[in-house]
Symmetry: none
């Protein structure tokens, strides 16, 4: 469980399926990670044509920053409104699945074939089709350069 590094980290890509009721099983590796801190609770939100799943603890860190924003400023309110509007609480059931709320399914165009990707402190949920095309896009861009900068600067 404790491994010397940063504690809550998700890695890897998994192909799962969304069942007829909109349920998605969370990769077992991810469940282990989640059970410690956030005890099976996730906050899922929309971003970049996919869904981002935050362990509850991680989400709370974000929320503390949000709490400091000036409440009645116009752009704050508009930001909060749309950011929160897609943020949904999800709990993992006894068999390790979540029910993906309908509006989120629609946003990310989830149908049957799903890709679940660990991305550092969160993980992402993609429709397979969208994932493939995003992958294609990324290979055109100079993603490599980003790595160069990170490692060698």
């Amino acid at each position: 469980m404790v491994d010397g590094g940063i504690r809550v980290v998700f890695r890897g890509r998994y192909e799962h399926t969304l069942d007829s009721k909109g349920r998605l099983s969370i990769p077992a590796r991810f469940r282990e990670t989640l059970s410690g801190d956030s005890d099976g609770r996730l906050v899922i939100t929309t971003f970049d044509d996919c869904l981002i799943a935050y362990p509850y603890q991680e989400w709370c860190i974000l929320e503390e920053r949000i709490a400091a924003l000036p409440e009645f400023k116009r752009d704050t309110r508009s930001f909060l409104r749309f950011f929160y509007s897609s943020a949904s609480d999800c709990t993992i059931d006894k068999l390790g699945r979540i029910l993906v709320p309908q509006p989120l399914r629609e946003y990310a165009k989830l149908e049957k074939e799903i890709i679940v990707v660990g991305v550092f402190k969160q993980f992402e949920i993609w429709s397979k089709d969208m994932w493939l095309s995003a992958e294609k896009e990324a290979s055109k861009d100079e993603t490599g350069n980003m790595l160069d900068r990170l490692v060698f600067d």
Copy 2:
């Protein structure tokens, strides 16, 4: 119930309907949040072409902040006048609904299709049409930048 994070938080977007008598059911998730502190009591007011619903406790906190404002400044007074004049107490009935007072319905142009949105410590009530157009407006703005700043600064 107690979870280490900020206690009273509303999240997510729900599509509900206003019935012929002007009643609106509050999403069950929100009711749970409300039952703890404010015990089913809300204060609803008008803002940004929608209605803002405050749990009674949160409203009280707001009032304390208002008490600290310079009382006779012109724009303070006009803001307060607007804000208070439409502030209505609402209680949630046995089936989890509120009756939205008529003047408020008119202000927010509520007809049948309603969007209820959790926005941190309050939630908002929108007519679906107004919500959609607000959404369109916001996507033009640089809402994404706000997120960047929150996460990376």
